[in-house]
Symmetry: C2
Subunit: 349 residues, 2 copies
């Protein structure tokens, strides 16, 4: 049986991690052009923006991956927002910001029928999901298009859950990974494992292809993950300094400094635990704070603070997503980086 | 330059993790006989018991490693103990136990001059330290004996600290590892990294040999760690089902069950964060509880509870140390397991 990536024309066993807020299709295209599978984070795009990106991606020969979220949307709770705004009040005051209650739900909706309809014209080759899977009816439609379905597991139980529902491949997301944790069966972070423990145990537990993510940052990391049984790797952090990434100058500076040695899982910026470089907000409120509203409802209250601070060149309130291994970050093109990452790796065709 | 293990006659790049409370020299000897470096956890032994073990180990040709702790001993605080006993009071009541204040410090002293004097007769080939390094004068004496000094780093900063103080090798302990975390420069657990991120970054940061620990459980794991730049690996959890280990029947049963899929760092059993299989005490008090006295002063209050519960076949209060990857645990001899772990690995001589 051909490799699940090779079936659709990907020649390198490497998927670029979709990084919402940090990239657009420029990165997707560069990685796909190099022979890997470029990803586009679609979860936070408006329908118009998504359509524009899909028009660009679908004009090209190379396959691409679209990423969506599958969270349960929580009820917007004004009281909860006010508690959160009270926590943030001293910072609002310092920046002269007035709290407003704006429901940001529309900008971070889980994958739904409307999105599916938008995709129908394009029938994307790969769709990857974070936080579980969409409703079975939506998955069935994707399968009719022969779209390959990928989702993230952070535990063996999640891997078995995904396999049972017929995914084409499972991303084993180790604790080293940057950005949002993909867990969906339990919120207990103590069950989350490092890649060295998670990957081989998922490989042993399932029969579908497993994609290793978390801490993989250079060619030796790619080779090590493949030797531990991964069918492919997913790499994000290493791309953050590439010119094709939309990483802000403040974020780039942090990655290049010793600050990047201290990342932590934080729920302050979105409501769900995600790995970011430690900054003032995380230090002062604690990276995990029980008063942050559930995902994605914590975000709106932070956004104006972040904007005001960044205007003064300050990253105290910025979510600087980053994995634990920055040793592979290079200021080179994503095309070149993809080829370096797969140096010595057997191509799939 | 010869490999630091081969210099003293070790032929496989594998160190068996010292596991206090779970082994004696039987495991050390079995691993050393197979060509690896067997370790003896010496930190919790009385001088008499240590001497007996050293008599056994030194009669053999094969080298061995002794492990000691280098913590700062905290002041015994009766009030702190009473707070801790109050937390435990409902459990004491259920088992009909009366709280007593016993200072357990003597049984878990950091490495000191008295221990050094005891070692002089044996001049052990390898000494590994957890929680930092002993005083420089003690290290100097060890160097005069040509004892190889190894210590544990959980961050890049700790690795640089150890290198500056002249260790012969550094153990990069990833977050996957079972038992006590070896951190000593900060108590902030958010800086702790998975092996996939920690190992290559330490390898890049230092020039001395790096030993990979955490999540390595079979031959593919050993090969992957070596390919990531490790000079050797340290493996503990995989040995816990070997007949030479003193793992209790309750602990063995937990390792063989799905319970082992959920480990967590807990300070309940000793006062320092250590990875153990989740049980009732950890669930009910939270695995990390601020009322637990500092290491090693939390232990004494748990010991009678553990003993009473284990007598009824109950592991609710037992510290079941375990790493995140149990997939390599096998009920075979430690000699055979060592050889399996190093299958395909080039021997050092």
């Amino acid at each position: 049986m051909a490799h699940f990536l090779q079936q659709l024309g990907v020649s390198l066993p490497l998927i670029q991690s979709p990084m919402a807020g940090l990239q657009d299709s420029a990165l997707t295209i560069a990685v796909s052009d190099a022979g890997g599978l470029g990803s586009l984070p679609a979860a936070m795009l408006t329908p118009q923006a998504l359509q524009q990106e899909l028009d660009l991606l679908s004009q090209r020969k190379q396959p691409y991956n679209l990423n969506f979220f599958c969270h349960q949307m929580p009820t917007y709770d004004t009281e909860q927002q006010e508690v959160w705004q009270t926590v943030l009040a001293p910072y609002y005051k310092a920046y002269g910001i007035t709290a407003t209650n704006q429901n940001p739900a529309a900008a971070s909706a889980p994958f739904n029928a409307e999105m599916l309809n938008l995709l129908e014209h394009y029938k994307p080759p790969f769709l990857s999901f974070h936080f579980g899977l969409p409703e079975p009816a939506l998955c069935q439609q994707l399968k009719k298009w022969r779209t390959k379905i990928i989702s993230t597991a952070t535990t063996i139980a999640e891997a078995l859950y995904l396999q049972e529902r017929g995914v084409d491949a499972i991303i084993a997301q180790g604790l080293e990974a940057g950005g949002h944790r993909g867990h969906f069966l339990t919120d207990d972070l103590s069950v989350q494992m490092g890649t060295f423990a998670l990957l081989p145990q998922i490989v042993k537990a399932v029969h579908c292809p497993v994609i290793a993510a978390g801490g993989i940052s250079d060619a030796t990391g790619v080779a090590a993950a493949l030797s531990l049984g991964a069918a492919a790797v997913q790499v994000g952090t290493a791309y953050l300094l590439c010119p094709e990434a939309k990483t802000t100058p403040l974020h780039r500076a942090a990655i290049k400094s010793s600050a990047a040695q201290h990342t932590a899982l934080t729920n302050l910026f979105s409501g769900r635990p995600a790995r970011a470089i430690m900054n003032k907000l995380m230090q002062e409120l604690g990276p995990m704070n029980a008063k942050a509203p559930p995902f994605p409802l914590a975000r709106a209250a932070i956004t104006p603070l972040r904007a005001a601070a960044e205007q003064t060149g300050c990253s105290d309130f910025s979510p600087m997503w980053c994995g634990q291994n920055v040793s592979g970050c290079q200021e080179i093109s994503a095309f070149e980086l993809t080829q370096q990452l797969c140096k010595g790796v057997k191509t799939l065709k």
